[in-house]
Structures are given as C-alpha cells and as structure tokens.
Symmetry: C2
Subunit: 198 residues, 2 copies
C-alpha cells in the first residue's frame, strides 16, 4: 500500500481555525507510521484542548498497534470519516494490526501523503475524510500511562473545501455524503445534523 497524491478538494486550514474541525465532537480515525509501518484505528474519544497553539486530546488504548507507532514516532493524524466510511470506521476500530497484520489492505484503506511534511515520520492520511489534523505528541508520560490519554499539538490541518471553507463547516449546502459521524456504541452512529444558529 503506497500513499497516493492528495485527493481533490484537499485544502489547508489555518491553524487558528483548526479547533473548529474537532469542536463538534466527531469520531476520528487515528493514523501513525514508524519504520515504514503504517496503521489506522478509530477513536471516539478525541477532543479539542486549546486554541493557540491548537491542541487536542485522544485516548489510545495500550493494546493498539497505532499507539505503539505514535509513541515511536511522536506524531499522529486525526481525520474525520464521512458517512460512507461508517463501516470502515467500525472495522478499523474492531480489527487490530497485532492479530490482523494486513488490516489496512483487508479493508481497502486508501492512504495519501500529507503534503509538505517529512514523509518518513509523518502519518499517512486517509482518503474520503472531511478533515485532517496532523499532530505532534506533547509528552505527558503520566497521562499516557494512567489514562491512555495523549495530548497533541496540531502542526498542520486540512479539510475538504466542499464542506469546510473560510473557517466554517458548510454541512447544509454540501452533499450529505460529506457529513461527519458521531459514534455511540455497537455500530451505532449519528450523522452531523441540521444547522442550529443562535
């Protein structure tokens, strides 16, 4: 599986707007790479932590291969799967590369390189997502050990400009296939719904 070129509509997001990509609480896919090995897992427990510099938290279980790659490389990417990726998201959150080494191939995950980043250590990104946040681990060994809680500083961000542009989500005017997902449990998601503006 070789990363391919960036998909159409893949557009940089200024770092001061990056928190908005995660603020509405979507499920994420977490990707990481080390020594030529990639992996991707699903995570519901990802959250914005700060505006400037933008920081995030994400919970990465000790049993996961992705966590090992994050710890070895000091980098991870969070990306927001869209409605058509719901089944893939469940699959990537269920299978583990520790017992299914061909997990990514088996589920047909399409990866691409984060543009302008040093390729050997930069996590590959997953096609078909609505937004991507590349993060550098802020080492906090106690949190990582006691709570599986990782803090990351967002160092680059991108979104599909059909659904996020000029610093704003535009779900209501974009194709419904670009709506992001909110996970509950047992294969049950809710799509991001109607706009409510105060």
């Amino acid at each position: 599986m070789l990363p391919t070129a960036s998909p159409p509509h893949f557009t940089p997001v200024p770092l001061d707007k990056a928190y908005r990509l995660l603020n509405h609480g979507p499920v994420v896919l977490v990707s990481a790479t080390h020594a030529g090995q990639h992996n991707v897992m699903a995570a519901s427990w990802a959250c914005a932590l700060d505006f400037a510099p933008p920081k995030v938290t994400v919970v990465l279980d000790k049993a996961t291969r992705t966590r090992e790659l994050v710890e070895a490389s000091g980098l991870f990417a969070l990306q927001l799967p869209t409605v058509p990726l719901a089944a893939l998201t469940v699959a990537l959150g269920t299978d583990t590369a520790k017992t299914t080494p061909d997990k990514l191939q088996r589920h047909g995950v399409l990866l691409f390189d984060a543009p302008g980043q040093p390729a050997p250590t930069t996590p590959p990104l997953v096609q078909g997502c609505a937004a991507w946040l590349l993060c550098r681990v802020v080492p906090e060994p106690h949190n990582q050990q006691a709570y599986d809680l990782f803090i990351g500083e967002v160092v680059a961000a991108w979104a599909d400009d059909r659904v996020f542009r000029n610093g704003h989500w535009e779900f209501d005017t974009a194709p419904d296939d670009l709506r992001t997902l909110h996970y509950v449990a047992g294969g049950q998601f809710y799509a991001t719904g109607a706009s409510v503006r105060v």
Copy 2:
C-alpha cells in the same frame, strides 16, 4: 433560585452505560456549587475517558467562576442541552458570573436537585437537558494548571427516557426538540442528526 423537583422522564442510567451519554461528542453545560453558590457554564471540550469506572475530561478555563466552584467542592455535573436550549447555551458560555453575578437568573436557568445525593455539595442540574452526569474530580494538579484539563469519575448518571433508554439513544423516534447539540463557534451548532447503523 431554588432547585426544584426532578423533571418528568428523568431516569437513572446504569454507570456501565454512562459513557454512551457523552460518546457522540455533544456540547455540555457544566454546573457546580459551593457554600450555597451555584453556577453553570457551557463547554464544548468534554469527552469520555474510560468505561469502568466511567471517567470524563472537561476543559475549564481559569477565568471561570464555575471552575472555582469545582475546585472548592471537588464535584461537577455535565449535562447535554437540547436544541431549544441553544441560545441559553451560548449565553451561559459568554456571560461570566464574575462580572454578571445574576447570570443564572438573568437567563432563566431552571435548576433541580440531583436525587439521592448530598445536597450541600452536589451540583444542581439544569432542566431541559437530555442527560446528566454527576462527576467527582480526580485530582490531577498538573493537568488542571497546565492545560485547564479536569478529569472526573462519573458517580451517577440520568437521562430523559424519551430519548435515551435501555442504554441506547433513540433520537430518531423522539421529538426533534430532544436532539442534542454539537457546537462549532460563533453561535453555530449542529443538531445530532440521522442514525447511521453499521
């Protein structure tokens, strides 16, 4: 403002299902009390952290009165506002009791006591929400100081049984007024949308 009786449909949620109340990433209202003073603020940065015992994270800025009450009492409640409470949520996230001491009265916040809990230190709960999680602070001074990040263990949970029952959200068969909210920025929310089941 005196807390009133529990609202209709207010129903206990078993602790092993409590993470599901927060798993889909909704905005929350954070309430706390100390020495007879209540307060409520809005927070987008709240997230599940563990299943058993259920734990959560929430970011509470040092400038907030609610944080002072949380630090003094060691308790907070997270609750999920519904669509009709969107304007109230923005108001409670904008005004601060430090300069607007009558913030809760001004915005007509209706509180009630968490049943079966010691009243003097237990945060009051906000009516009109879809779910409520009562949390005990797990002291982590470094996280609190460096990141404004608080960890709480959920000690009791409840939901409106019209929209969460038998351990499952039932947004699609409940009135739309019971949908929860996902906040972006600048008064822009998205309601929890359509069910996507894998």
